[in-house]
């Protein structure tokens, strides 16, 4: 599955470790259960550590580790299950997480804009054609009606700061 960061397809530096595998050198992405066995222990490694966090586990449980985690992958078991969007916003906007926030699972083209706005910056895209189209799709909208932590100006702000351009119809 292609990984997209900064709107381009990149190689994945993280190695995904299954529950029963031993942890190799270099950057790793651990399942939540594995990570939680000894979080402080793994975080002492001198390579990056990321965790795959399921969408039914409160994100607040990660709060003590956020400054040491290099990446968090949130899971979309189907594109219809939107819990990961709330988790993403809480991580970015409430807990101030600045590492890589990755969307994994059923990640399709038509979710990209929502995910970007919720604070994701890495995407394991299910289809190659969607991954290739990422840059175009990300530009699909220029108008956003609600504030999120992504800092994009809302329609209201645009209006109030440029009343002349937003001429009445």
């Amino acid at each position: 599955m292609p990984l997209v960061k900064n709107t381009t397809i990149v190689a994945d530096e993280f190695v995904r470790v299954a529950d029963e595998d031993s942890i190799p050198d270099g950057p790793v992405l651990l399942p939540a259960a594995r990570f939680l066995v000894d979080p402080d222990g793994v975080l002492k490694r001198n390579a990056k550590v990321g965790v795959i966090w399921p969408n039914n586990k409160p994100i607040a449980e990660l709060a003590p580790y956020l400054d040491r985690l290099a990446a968090i992958a949130l899971v979309f078991p189907t594109f219809r299950d939107g819990r990961g969007y709330s988790q993403a916003r809480l991580l970015r906007e409430r807990f101030g997480f600045r590492g890589e926030l990755r969307a994994i699972g059923q990640v399709l083209r038509d979710q990209f804009v929502f995910m970007l706005r919720a604070g994701f910056d890495a995407f394991e895209v299910k289809k190659d054609s969607d991954a290739a189209a990422f840059a175009d799709v990300a530009k699909r909208y220029s108008v956003f009606y609600q504030p999120t932590g992504d800092g994009r100006a809302t329609a209201t702000r645009q209006r109030l700061s440029h009343p002349a351009e937003a001429a009445r119809s």
């Binding site: 594109f79 219809r80 299950d81 939107g82 819990r83 969007y85 709330s86 916003r89 409430r94 399709l108 038509d110 804009v113 929502f114 995910m115 970007l116 706005r117 919720a118 054609s129 699909r140 909208y141 220029s142 108008v143 956003f144 009606y145 609600q146 504030p147 999120t148 329609a155 209201t156 645009q158 209006r159 109030l160 351009e165 937003a166 001429a167 009445r168 119809s169």
Partner: protein, 550 residues
């Protein structure tokens, strides 16, 4: 009227081109039907028995004549020459071809009309009082706040994949015409004792297979905090609403399982974290939105014009009594256009009718129209002196049946005639009832009586809150109907009570006649409404009457 600006128009164009791309990918086989489904649903496109159905939003039920003409154009060009007005301030087209949908959307977008979030598991078209802004008793125009919430919920990046659909309704009058108690969130605009504007917030109302009346979780949220409060509700729901069973996924089940107090506490905790964020509404934002609602330049007119005094045609008088309501401005009236002609399917309008109504609204109502949850239209700004002339014109196009709120003003879902989920027919039952009670004197003697029909447990016809509710179910391959009485959807909302075993298709109209006769015999006074008689006496006497001979 609300004027979209360049920003809104840009957005709508972006939306249409996104959908065009999605349709192309579907037609090219790049998207499976399952993947396409949730995308098309968020644009109001359902797959129905015979074709795709297209549901277009009429935000807060307000339309301009130009917009209505464009809806007529869509009916003519892409459909079979008519459209169907629904109970949630939408219009539906039943026969549109997928490949032509993007063009239909583009035509609508040119006049600021869209289908965004008219279906799918997202926040739906926010609805409100169809008489907003013109009715005498309102706290303030609820459309301003419906627009605040429309903008806030449009393509919300966090709440577009909720456990289930989510409906918000707002009222600002003592008399609730928006049915806020049967919505996921119901908002009642009020002023607190300091005179500040705010909202009473109800959560967890809804119909469907597990009906609930909404519960008040917050008696007063200051207007400036309403977006953050709604966000807190949505966030709690998005995280904890059930996703394992589609029938248990609405917020009403979460509220019921947690208890309203516990749910309110969770919301309160979440809200405390976000109320002082960018979601705080500043006056400039509300003023900007308010400034884009334009109100007609009313003239100073007599409230008792000669034209009215002279009009003595009894048919006109019957209509005047029935379909014309008081306006906040002296000399003006609100006119309801019944889309419930005798023998017709409730809520349908032909393209010709839509065009003619648009012309009449230009001539008599400052180019403005309204759509209410009873599937009727309204001209909100008619000078009283014009009523006789307007009536003649409406009568000519078949939308002056004087049956508003009477037993023939039936709300019915599409049922087995169009809907793939239906167990039973609804439209033909409605048609039969309009014939049975076609005599206007009889119907007006009976008085206000809402009959609601749904063709299956999903309750699109709101049968639980009909004064008389009719629900089609299937038993051993046969269509049978459960009858409830005593439901209502207004400020005193209640769920109807079943009167007994289901009855056969052919018996439904007889049973309704029996119930109505029983009411006429039992009512304490001629002005005791059907629902009030049921409230006073319970269902027993009605049950006896219906089943004694069956």
């Amino acid at each position: 009227m609300y004027a979209y600006d360049e920003i809104d128009r840009t957005f709508l164009n972006e939306r249409v081109s996104e959908f065009r791309d999605q349709v192309q990918r579907r037609l090219a086989g790049e998207l499976t039907e399952d993947e396409f489904k949730s995308l098309r649903l968020m644009n109001g496109v359902y797959l129905q028995l015979h074709a795709y159905m297209f549901r277009v939003a009429i935000p807060y039920g307000t339309l301009s004549s130009r917009q209505l003409r464009r809806m007529a154009h869509v009916a003519r060009k892409y459909d079979r020459g008519y459209g169907h007005f629904t109970t949630r301030q939408n219009i539906q087209y039943n026969w549109i071809k997928l490949a032509e949908l993007p063009d239909a959307m583009e035509d609508l977008a040119e006049v600021g009309i869209h289908a965004i979030q008219t279906s799918g598991n997202c926040v739906r078209n926010v609805t409100t009082d169809q008489w907003a802004g013109v009715v005498p008793d309102e706290v303030e125009d609820p459309r301003v706040w419906a627009e605040v919430l429309r903008q806030y919920t449009t393509l919300h990046p966090e709440f577009s994949f909720l456990p289930r659909k989510f409906k918000i309704a707002i009222t600002a009058s003592d008399h609730d015409r928006a049915a806020i108690k049967v919505h996921d969130i119901g908002l009642r605009i009020l002023r607190n004792d300091k005179g500040e504007l705010g909202f009473e917030v109800l959560v967890g109302g809804g119909l469907g297979r597990t009906p609930f009346i909404g519960k008040i979780i917050k008696p007063f949220v200051h207007a400036r905090d309403i977006i953050s409060y709604v966000e807190a509700v949505l966030r709690v729901y998005n995280q904890y609403g059930r996703r394992d069973n589609i029938y248990k996924a609405r917020i009403k089940i979460l509220v019921h399982e947690l208890g309203a107090e516990a749910f309110a506490r969770d919301v309160e905790t979440e809200w405390a974290q976000i109320r002082d964020s960018a979601l705080l509404i500043d006056d400039a934002m509300v003023d900007d939105i308010r400034s884009r609602f334009s109100y007609p330049a009313y003239e100073k007119l007599s409230d008792t014009p000669d034209e009215l005094k002279k009009a003595d045609d009894p048919r006109f008088q019957a209509w005047l009594q029935n379909s014309v309501a008081p306006h906040k401005e002296p000399g003006y009236a609100i006119v309801t256009l019944s889309l419930k002609p005798v023998g017709g399917p409730p809520g349908d309008a032909t393209a010709e009718q839509m065009d003619a109504i648009a012309d009449l609204s230009d001539r008599y109502s400052f180019g403005e129209l309204r759509v209410g949850h009873e599937q009727n239209l309204a001209l909100p700004n008619v000078a009283k002196r014009d009523l006789p002339a307007l009536w003649r014109a409406l009568d000519k196009i078949g939308v002056a049946t004087p049956n508003v709120n009477l037993v023939t003003d039936i709300i019915a879902c599409p049922g087995l005639d169009y809907c793939s989920l239906a167990n039973a027919r609804s439209i033909p039952i409605a048609q039969e009832l309009t014939r049975r009670f076609a005599d206007h004197d009889l119907a007006s003697m009976i008085g206000r009586l809402h009959v609601n029909i749904s063709g299956c447990i999903n309750a699109c016809g709101h049968h639980h809150v009909g004064h008389i509710g009719i629900l089609g179910v299937e038993k051993n391959g046969e269509e049978v109907y459960q009858i409830t009485i005593g439901g209502r959807a207004d400020e005193k909302a209640e769920l109807g009570v079943l009167i007994g075993p289901a009855v056969k298709y052919a018996e439904v109209a007889d049973v309704i006649e029996d119930i109505v006769e029983a009411y006429l015999a039992l009512r304490a006074r001629p002005d005791e409404l059907f629902v009030d008689t049921v409230k006073r006496l319970g269902v027993e006497p009605f049950k006896e009457r219906v089943y004694a001979t069956r």
